[in-house]
Subunit: 236 residues, 2 copies
Amino acid sequence: MRLRVEPLPQPGLRFDDVVLVVDVIRATSTATMLLEAGARALWLTDHLDKARRLRQNGEVLVGEVGGLKPEGFDLGNSPLEARQAPVAGRVVVQSTTNGTKTAHLATQSAREVLLAALLNAKAAVQEALRRAQKEVAILCAGKEGALGLDDLYTAGVLADLLQQEGLTPVGDATRLALELCWHYLDPQRVLPLSEAAQALKKVGLGADVAFCAQVNLSSRVARLKERQGEALVFEG
Amino acid sequence: MRLRVEPLPQPGLRFDDVVLVVDVIRATSTATMLLEAGARALWLTDHLDKARRLRQNGEVLVGEVGGLKPEGFDLGNSPLEARQAPVAGRVVVQSTTNGTKTAHLATQSAREVLLAALLNAKAAVQEALRRAQKEVAILCAGKEGALGLDDLYTAGVLADLLQQEGLTPVGDATRLALELCWHYLDPQRVLPLSEAAQALKKVGLGADVAFCAQVNLSSRVARLKERQGEALVFEG
């Protein structure tokens, strides 16, 4: 079975089996912790206004503007906040930019889409292995079209686990991600180097970076269930 | 002054100063050796038929199909062949896919476009520094939209030289390229790992990879002079 890392969500990409979407700082980390806190479902949208329109029956709104909680939202896009949020049994509408666009791209062609982070690395890999028939692809969100060191490193951690399970790495980006994972053994060292981390630090959210850099804290994995209009519905 | 590595030729990229285009296996390595062999100018096209149409007055045709010399062409896209080719004082039409498309992308917005490889790394950096006012960008060609380990490593070597000259690295991809260059001190170790190298080895052209992995063999740098119809005209 093949293992493939895609470092950027380029429009022409095709997938025909299982895709692990990675936006480690912070969309997929937050999604994992929302499930951990008991959320019944996650509705991913790529715009704050769409999220606002989706609120009809007490849905919880999660999102960010420049790293901070937008007006009228319940929570920022923070895994630390999410962990302790009163979301048990509720539907959460999560508005993100890069993460959601990347999930949409995967959805266009993939058979299964899962949200992966370091927090749920092992669980995400296990879930992918259970569902894959010929390939597990890891699709990095990056930031507005630019490569993210944080996402590529996380892809390397996931690829390393998949390779240990006998999958065959394909392509230069896969090798690069693996090298990155082997070079930086400690995610607490590499994640803070990324632009995404530095932007958060600037607005006082450095603690979120350290939280996202924890490995295997959760066994929850968000999995694409269906679409609802413009939203992607994940459960897990 | 900024230093930026772009790992892939994504359509939306903009440049406003100097761009070093890298397609180390083999377009920019071959271009460098064609100049070294005395070529007066290089006309880059992205299609074999365009190259054929451009031959009017004894221009030398250089190109490849699956790594090998196309029918009716004078030379394959090989830096080893180029080095000893009878091109002194002549115009060479070089038909490549990834390298030429990448050069075209750079040309859309950049003020100056230079062709860089390991063979002319130091010279390319010096030329870039002479011409840059605010930024030197290094644009990797990759292979059909996929990231190339060979190009990103070469970008790292160029970025390392530029950083030593006081330029400020910007962005995660720049850091990644630098890490790759520091991790693999010997290009003869890393270039053969790339898909581009493996494809050449399969058709018996492994010697070209070893040749491309030599650093600072040439002080010639191809520089974009003008366009001629669909061709980009480089001199140096």
